[in-house]
Amino acid sequence: MTDTFLSATPPAPIRQRAARDLTRRARWKPAEILFWLCAAASFFLLPDQHLLLSEIVILGLFALSLDLIIGYAGVVTLGHGAFFGLGAYVAGLTSIHLTAEPLTGLALAALAAAALGLATGPLLLLRASDLTRLMVTLGVAMLLYEAANKASWLTGGADGLQGVMIDPLLGRFEFDLFGTTAYGYCLIVTFVLTLIARRIVTSPYGLSLRAIRDNALRARSMGIPVGPRLLAIYAFSALIAGIAGALLTQTTMFVSLDVLAFHRSADVLLVLVLGGVGYLYGGLIGAVAFKLLQDWFSALTPQYWMFWMGLVLLVVVLIGRDRIQTLPRTLMRRLHAEGRA
C-alpha cells in the first residue's frame, strides 16, 4: 500500500516543525491575554459603567456568534437576530412559566436557538449568491418577528413580555440595580463561550471550515462533507446568539419585540464588520467601539448622534479598517518577534 511509500523515512525534526505550525493558531497571544485582563479590570475599576458594559458584552457575544459563520465559514446572513430574539423570548418565558433560575433559562434558550439553527440552516446551503442568502435569512427573521407580534397571548406582542423575574445567580448574587451582578454574569458567560469557540475554531474541524470558506471546490474534492460541517457551525453560532439573547432578557428582566427587529440583525453585522471578521475578537472589539461611540455621541447630542456615528464609521472604512487594526497586531508581532529573539 501507499503506507510503505509514506513511512520510508520518519523525519523527526520536520515533524516537530509541522507540529509547531499546527499549534500556532491555538497559542495564546499577548494581546488576547491583555484583552481579557482589561475586561476583568473594567469590572472592578468601572462600577459606574456596569450597565453599559453589560450591554456591550451582550452585543459583543452576539457579534462573536455571527463571526463564527461569516468569518470562519464564509456564509453571510442578515437574520441572525432570529436566534438572539428566540433566545431572549425562551429565557423570558422560562422564568415566567418554569423556573426563575438563570442558568436553566440560559440552557433552554441555547437549545431552542440551536434547534432553530438546525432547522433553518439548510436554507443557507442553497447554491446561491450572498445577496440571496442575506435575504433568505432576513426573511426568516422577519417571519419570526411577525409571529411573535401575532402570538401576543404568549409573547405579550408589541407591549412586550412582562413579569420576567430572575432569581439570584447561583442562589447568592442578586441582580442589583447597579448591574454589577449582571455584568459579572455576562462577562463570565462570554469568557467561557469565547474559550469554547476558540477551541472549536482552532480544532481540525475549525481548520476544515476555513478550508471550505477559502475553497469549497477543493474541500469537496478532498472528501470534506461540506454541508454537515456548515450546518454544525451554523447551529453552534445560533446557540451562542441564543445565549446572548437570554443574557439580555435576564439582565433587563424584560423582553420586547425589538429583540427580533431588523435593526438587531443589521446592527450586529455592522458591529462585526467594524471590528473585523475572522479572528474571533472582532465582534467584541467592534461592540466596545460601537457602543462607546454611540453612548458618547448620544450624550452630546441625543437627536443627531447618528450623524457623527455615521461619520466615524465612514472615516474608518475609508482609511481602511485593516490599517487601523493591523496597528496593534503589527506591534504585537514585533513584540512577539523580540520575545523570541
Binding site: L131, A147, F262, L269, M306
Partner: protein, 284 residues
C-alpha cells in the same frame, strides 16, 4: 378584483422605480449600496419642499426630484464611492450604512422628524371608472410614468452607445479602458442615473408611503427584496419581481388579511428557494 390588481401593479411599479437604480449598481457595478434609499429620500424632499415652500406644481418638481439626487449621487460617487469599488462587500455594507446614518440625521436636522406631506393637484386626486372598474387617478398616473421609465431604461441600456459602453466597462474594465472608454465617467453617470431614479421613486412614493427621515431604512428591505427576487443580471428580472411582490402584497392583504405581513417574506423565501439566482438568472 381588477381594482385590486391595478393597485398592486401601481405599487409594484413604484417599487421597481426605486429598486431599478439599486439593480444597476448591484448588478452591473457589483456594489452593495445600502444607501440607495437615501437618494430616494432626497428626491422625496426635493419634491415636497419645492411644492410646499416654492409653490411649484407637482409635475414640475419631478425632473428636479431626478436631477438633484443624480447630482448628489454623482458627487458622492466621484468623491466617496469610487474609493470603495475594490473593497469587500462587507466593507461596502459598512460604508453605505454609515452614509444612511448621516443622511437620516442630516434630514432630521434640516427638515425635522415629522412626516412630510404634499397635496396632489386636483386632476390626480380621486378616481375614474372604465368599464365598471374604479381606478385611482394617481395610480393610473404611476403606472403610466413607470411604464415609460421602464421602456426608456431598457432602450438606454440595450440600444444606445452609452449602454454598450457601460456593458463593456462592466465586463472587463481593463479592456474597456484600452478601447478608450472613460470607465470612471461611465460609472459616475450610471451611478447618477441610478440615484436619480431612486429620487424619482421617492418623489412619486410620498403620496403612498409617506416621507420622513427614516425613509431610507424603511424602503431598504422592500427594495432589496425586489432586487434579490428579480436577480441582478437583468432589469427585466427586478421588474417582474416588483410586479409580483406588488400585486401579491396588495392581493394577499385583501384576500387573506390574517397572513398580512407574513406573505411578502414567505413569498420571497419560496421564490428564492425555487430560483436562488433570481427570476432571471445570469447566463453561465
Amino acid at each position: 378584483m381588477l381594482t385590486i390588481l391595478i393597485d398592486g401593479i401601481a405599487y409594484g411599479m413604484l417599487l421597481f422605480v426605486m429598486a431599478s437604480g439599486l439593480a444597476v449598481t448591484l448588478g452591473l457595478m457589483n456594489f452593495v449600496n445600502l444607501a440607495h434609499g437615501a437618494f430616494a429620500m432626497i428626491g422625496g424632499y426635493v419634491t415636497a419642499l419645492t411644492m410646499n415652500r416654492m409653490g411649484l406644481p407637482f409635475l414640475a418638481t419631478l425632473p428636479l426630484a431626478f436631477l438633484v439626487p443624480a447630482l448628489v449621487g454623482m458627487l458622492a460617487e466621484r468623491t466617496l464611492y469610487a474609493r470603495m469599488y475594490r473593497r469587500s462587500h462587507l466593507e461596502q455594507v459598512l460604508f453605505s450604512i454609515a452614509l444612511v446614518f448621516m443622511a437620516m440625521a442630516a434630514a432630521d436636522w434640516l427638515l425635522g422628524s415629522s412626516q412630510m406631506l404634499i397635496t396632489l393637484p386636483g386632476w390626480l386626486q380621486g378616481r375614474f371608472e372604465i368599464a365598471g372598474i374604479a381606478i385611482g387617478r394617481y395610480r393610473a398616473f404611476l403606472i403610466l410614468v413607470c411604464a415609460a421609465l421602464v421602456i426608456g431604461l431598457q432602450l438606454l441600456l440595450s440600444r444606445t452607445r452609452f449602454g454598450a459602453r457601460l456593458r463593456a466597462a462592466v465586463d472587463d474594465q481593463r479592456a474597456a479602458r484600452g478601447l478608450g472608454i472613460n470607465v470612471g465617467g461611465i460609472f459616475a453617470l450610471t451611478f447618477a442615473t441610478g440615484s436619480g431614479l431612486a429620487g424619482l421613486g421617492g418623489a412619486l412614493g410620498i403620496e403612498i408611503m409617506g416621507l420622513d427621515p427614516t425613509f431610507p431604512l424603511k424602503i431598504l428591505v422592500y427594495v432589496l427584496i425586489v432586487v434579490t427576487i428579480g436577480g441582478t443580471a437583468t432589469l427585466t428580472g427586478p421588474f417582474l419581481a416588483a410586479l409580483i411582490i406588488g400585486t401579491a402584497d396588495v392581493a394577499g392583504k385583501y384576500y387573506i388579511p390574517e397572513l398580512g405581513a407574513f406573505l411578502i417574506y414567505l413569498l420571497m423565501i419560496v421564490l428564492l428557494i425555487l430560483r436562488p439566482q433570481g427570476l432571471i438568472a445570469p447566463a453561465r
